[in-house]
Amino acid sequence: MTSTVTRATTDAPGPPAIVPAAPGRGPASNRSSAPGSRTDDSARALARRRRHNPITWVQRGGLTTLLFLLPLLIIFGVFSWTPIVESVIMSFQKTNLVTAPVFVGWDNFVAVFRDPVFWVALRNTGYFAALALLFGYPIPLVAAVLMSEVRRMKGLYSVLAYLPVVIPPVVSVLLWKIFYDAGPTGVFNTILSWVGIPPQPWIQDAATAMPSLVLQATWAGAGGTIIIYLAALTSVSPDLYDAAEVDGASIWGKIWHVTLPQLRGILFITLILQIIATAQVFLQPFLFTGGGPVNSTTTILLLIYQYAFTNSLGGAYGQATALSIMLAAFLAVLSVVYFRLTSRWSDE
């Protein structure tokens, strides 16, 4: 970068023969410039024009650079940027893949709000997110703090904690589906029978289905958060602990006044990331229950999927994109508000 810039400026006052004068404005501006005092200005103008010239651009390797960017531009253009824009457009259209799309204004959004299942899905997603926070947010933190104090087995413990994360998600859900067998000889029910608890219906009952889904999701995801916390814990300066001890802090005191405040930044981030992730839960309801029993586990994402792909009347693409745009907008607003609020606490 720096080398090309200096070259361009030093080259500028060179022989004008190489400079292909731009048609039109070029000569006129040269003539109008006063002799002597304005030569610097005109030289700079020339240099600027030269940098924007297509031929010199190619000579300096502009085309080669573009060639290297081509895979990114094609792949992101076709499979990321265009679909994002299309999604916004489609949410205001009626599309049935047969006739040309028709602009319908806010109809798709209204249709989503009028759908009673939407409100059920909204409540279920909120319930899932709340339960996931209750189970899933404190456990990785406690586990990571304890694991960080272990001297010898730390590596082994990290591997054990991370193992559930590397099992393919589909396999892990299907495996837990077998664990959740509602019969008295199901895996979990057998374990419960050891301590005298009667068999539970797990995913077959509307009341226990959602907690069962959250339990599996927590098991599958906790390892990743533990690893993040472990990394953050190693960056807490030992001096702070030394200083706390000089002030007579107990072990709890050190955790409360040093460890947790030092992790504050990462704790804020994992919290919002978890909320964003749970708002988009799909795999568990899709594979465990398909949304049942009686819509008790239908989530927003499952509803989007159903609108678009399992609709007997043909894909309601407009409604599906309208709902996904609303979800994205909600998460964006939530994140912005969240970071506004927490930045005040993180900075002090």
Partner: protein, 320 residues
């Protein structure tokens, strides 16, 4: 981040000289955590610490390892035993035939190779996009580069579900090609390349490469392509390794998208096929199929542990 460089292992040294560095650190005075050396000498703390350590270890084994071991055990246990006594250890001997039946009769072998083929293609596309883009944006640095990297970064904040429907319609009617890509591997390979995470990861690594090397190579007459192929790529083996491991693992885990675009049984990967065969397959054989689907990701994890566990460190770096 104000900490000194060696204390904060970046992406660069994940694979380069990990072992030496680690052993040196262990030899030195170990970094202290919450507990001080004095704390550790107190008898109360010692007893409590040992108890916590044992409980933690048992919990982690039960949570992390036991479900996998149960899966492995049940894969070679007769179906009747798994149904009636799921937690007994081989009450009536083994049933290794489950594995053969799963591989041959349920055709798990075919789906296994479909998964490998899918993962290989996604890996190749992701690597092509990430390395060429990283080179263009971080080494060649055109003036409009900031705009492009900004647009790539922006996609990171768009939930994937927003793309679902339009992307599906794009695969149904792709531009220029003229026929649907549904039920071809291209339908999963190409969209996988649009991973902003990979591009940003590679860019961050390329930004940290010493620019003097590039200048030297240019002085020696290396052109843009030569610089990419013979200088930059060989220097970026660590980051290529990281991207590769994540790409292959993500491909193996992917479900929603391949489930939508690969409806033909003949080219479906394991993740799509396994839920479909559940009701029609004998439990023992089915568990054997699940086991086969788990082997490769777990093996990759155990081999490349450090990449995975440092991957968390990448997330931790967001903190600075």
């Amino acid at each position: 981040m104000t900490t000194t460089a060696p204390a904060e292992p970046g992406v660069q040294d994940t694979v380069v000289t990990p072992r030496r560095r680690r052993s040196r650190q262990v030899a030195e005075e170990p970094e202290r955590g919450i507990l001080s050396a004095a704390d550790r000498r107190r008898p109360q703390v010692r007893v409590l610490g040992t108890i916590v350590n044992v409980v933690l270890g048992v919990c982690l084994v039960v949570i992390g390892l036991v479900p996998l071991l149960w899966l492995l055990k049940s894969a070679v246990t007769p179906t009747q035993d798994t149904l009636t006594q799921p937690l007994a250890l081989f009450p009536n001997g083994f049933a290794f035939s489950n594995l053969f039946k799963a591989w041959n009769d349920v055709k798990i072998g075919d789906f296994f190779f479909n998964t490998i083929w899918m993962a290989a293609g996604e890996w190749a596309v992701q690597l092509l996009v990430a390395t060429t883009a990283g080179y263009a944006l971080s080494v060649l640095r055109p003036k409009y580069g900031k705009i492009i990297s900004g647009l790539v970064l922006a996609t990171l904040f768009v939930p994937a579900v927003v793309l679902l429907v339009p992307l599906y319609l794009t695969i149904l009617h792709p531009p220029l090609i003229g026929h649907s890509l549904i039920n071809t591997f291209w339908a999963v390979w190409l969209p996988a390349g649009a991973s902003a995470f990979n591009v940003l990861l590679v860019m961050r690594f390329f930004d940290a490469l010493p620019r003097e090397v590039f200048e030297a190579a240019k002085t020696d007459g290396a052109g843009t392509f030569r610089l990419f192929w013979s200088v930059v790529l060989p220097m970026s083996k660590p980051i290529i390794g990281v991207v590769s491991v994540f790409a292959i693992n993500a491909a193996w885990a992917d479900f929603l998208w391949p489930n939508l675009v690969l409806t033909n049984i003949g080219i479906q990967p394991l993740s799509v096929r396994l839920p479909q065969i559940q009701s029609s397959t004998d439990l023992g054989v089915y568990l054997a199929a699940l086991t086969i689907a788990t082997l490769i990701p777990v093996a990759i994890f155990l081999i490349f542990q450090r990449t995975f566990l440092r991957g968390g460190g990448l997330g931790g770096a967001v903190k600075g």
